[in-house]
Symmetry: C4
Subunit: 274 residues, 4 copies
């Protein structure tokens, strides 16, 4: 009897844990408090890993960085352990073999990688290794993949136009090669280090067609400037194409969603007049 | 009898004042002449506060700047007083307590702040203080909030797609971190002061993904240039997303408005054929 | 009899001239050959006036430039005379008084200005005067206004959304002032010559919000860079707004035009089956 | 009998060859394996021609570059010969005269040009000639024109709005000339080498209106900066126009395609209710 109730209790704990960790909510609204806190922890952990690559920041208090790093690693290790334990609630991952199967799912592997810094914590501090494992910390952002359902809607909108988008990319590549070749021919002699070959000209072409325009490379000969101006104007057209395609895609996605909602909603019955 | 008519007169003045200061017009067309003049005064006051931060401009005639500053402060003080007095027309703000309640509304506080320079006018001229209270003058633009009904329509259009816009922002943040990390790895050694950490690389990433491209930072190694070119091209896609979303939002807002207008308009009756 | 036929002949010439010069064609297709040639002449005349401002080009052959200039002025003078003469075909501009009335129409004044260089041709060559009258030649492009019917369609599309476009401009101005003020506060001390006052910061703000990014001014302090990055991202949104508005406007214009064409076209009658 | 079967065999080979080389597939999906391999070869050949213009890359192993160049030329020559032979399958290009007619089609000429490097292979290696024939190799990308059916859809979408696009280009040219003239007048004296004539100002105008902003030229006088800021803002509007037009064009193209598909599909018959 005691054993049974103990098992019951154990099951209850696992079931509750599973409920807290599970992501059943629709979109981001239905996330449990536990998951919301975990999201914050992941964002903090990733941001911390980014800041930890800045030597000036680490130099302020290396020990603080070390402590936070290990604390984060422990927190993520605990989460990993609990997720592994709770996974048993799902029939798919029951038993030891099931857990092993769970541990090999992409999300579980990402969770494991997030705990990496802990393994290095007790090694003598080696600068290069420290730098490496800190970089691994950025992969923590991948843990957010668990919550990324909403993103898939946008990805679907993009995929519905992948053919048109690929075409505008191909057109862009074509313009890129043509403008690079022309600038190589007109500016190659005046600026051999910047336009002396087509691969060198490509850098200028990309920077101009995307309208970034760093200013490290630009044509100086009159003919080069004319061709450069034409390239810049054509670049506007190239940018307009994917924008136009995406505008149409999002507009259509929205209209479809509206139509679907209308269908789901029963037609409003007009109140019968006396 | 005399007392009553005096009260009547007083009430009439207050009612007239209230009418002149009230904003009942539809959109910007129905603004009273008084409010139009006040709009101009606010725009002038704000612009003046901007120019007053330029030492070269103030140096031309410090006394003129002082006089205009005080004149503006007096004008806004008078407006504040009149608005406080006229507020009594509304049942909500009747009596002394009502006026106190009115004085605590956000718009009334903004009106009060706009008069700040007057309080400093009789203090001995201290450069730092002068600079500070001049800066406060920029807050005068907030007085325009009273007239901003129209802006809310656009805000509504933006809000109807806040989910999609937030998603494209999240996608942008993701690309930002990935490209910063890649550039940090490839360019970090060649340009340690510019790409020596991810936070440092972030500046380059933002400037490239938004296609601003100041040219203070750019990759110099071949691999860095390849990754930089990919980042610039991806940036175009990131810019295309919100543009597409907004294009769809505005298009839909317009169609809805048209449909609403059609419904309001009675169906045109066809002329009866003989 | 002879007089009458002479008058007839004269009338015939004027009527023919009127026909050749008149712009009755639909869009650009229906332009008469004479008008097509005139368009080319105007484009050449305007382009010539642009090139004539380049001292290096003029230095190659000052006499050639002078001759072409005078030839163009004579050609436009002849056109002016012929148009003035042919205007009599229209009842509105009949007789001497009518011609005077015609001469005061904006297009006729523009035509007259295009002949200005001729009046200076016999003056002693004065460099400053030459430079001035050459600049006047650029106004020749305004002669194209006669052919700009098509442009009005686009202007109409823009006007139908002038309210939304004005709002996004106002929103842009608001963001401009906020970002300038913030950068003035954070970067003012580090770069007093570039961010030392709000008017100075405005230049940076415009260059960043429009994503031009010359690179002559950019934040250098960490906080300034963070605010600069936010400004650049907000700039993308500001650019997306008018683009979205215009996309919706052009889409609607096109649909309306299609609907109009459908109405004009009688419904296609299905061929009767035997 | 033997002769006949030999002829049969020959015909079979030619027919099979024709099948392998022909492009009958819908869009890119139906391409035969042979054509897929040829596409890869063309892409490799074109990319190789680009890299071969980079002296640093060639210097690594000039002989390797020479060998790959000749191998590619032989491969394309073989393809050319086979296409010429297989062309006989089509009644249009039968016989010697037919082959000559085939050889003069644009695609066949492009195929011939792709083999050019072979003709130079046995000449003594002359640096200038080598550079020239390597450049010719870039024309190999034109061979992809054979597979570009899909691109024509996008071109059709662009052509359906060529009138609006031409208008926005004309508007752009107008703004370009106006802003160049204004900057020439305001900045001409301060920076004579950059704004000293309208053609010189044009470079700045294009770079600003397209929001490229290299930073090699920018206004420095206060009035020039104000005009430059206005130009940059107007540039946003100019970019928004073609983007809006294209967004509408792609949206319409998509809706038309959906409508066409619906028509092709027979209406789904509703299951008869009992």
């Amino acid at each position: 009897m005691i054993e049974a109730s103990k098992l019951d209790l154990q099951l209850t704990i696992r079931a509750r844990l599973y409920q807290h960790l599970a992501i059943d909510g629709k979109e981001n609204r239905g996330l449990s408090l536990t998951n919301r806190l975990l999201c914050c922890l992941i964002l903090f952990g990733g941001a911390f890993a980014i800041i930890a690559t800045e030597p000036d920041a680490v130099a302020l208090s290396p020990s603080l960085f070390r402590i936070v790093e290990i604390a984060l690693a422990i927190a993520f290790s605990v989460e990993y352990g609990l997720r592994l334990y709770a996974a048993g609630e799902s029939p798919k991952y029951r038993g030891l073999l099931g857990r092993a199967r769970y541990a090999l799912t992409p999300l579980a592997i990402v969770d494991l990688v997030a705990t990496v810094p802990l393994y290095f914590a007790f090694l003598p501090t080696d600068a290069a290794l420290l730098r490496l494992f800190r970089l691994v910390g950025i992969l923590r952002f991948a843990k957010l993949g668990r919550y990324s359902r909403a993103l898939r809607l946008v990805v679907a909108a993009l995929q519905s136009r992948r053919f048109e988008l690929a075409l505008s990319l191909a057109l862009g590549a074509f313009v890129l090669i043509v403008s690079s070749t022309l600038l190589y021919l007109t500016e190659g002699e005046a600026q051999p280090d910047k336009f002396g070959s087509i691969p060198r000209s490509l850098w200028w072409s990309v920077v101009t067609l995307t309208t970034v325009g760093y200013g490290d490379v630009f044509p100086v000969t009159p003919l080069g400037k004319v061709l450069g101006a034409v390239t810049a104007v054509v670049g506007i057209g190239l940018i307009a194409m994917p924008t136009g395609i995406l505008a149409a895609a999002f507009s259509e996605m929205f209209q479809r969603e509206q139509a679907r909602r209308k269908e789901l909603k029963p037609p409003e019955v007009a109140p019968e007049s006396k």
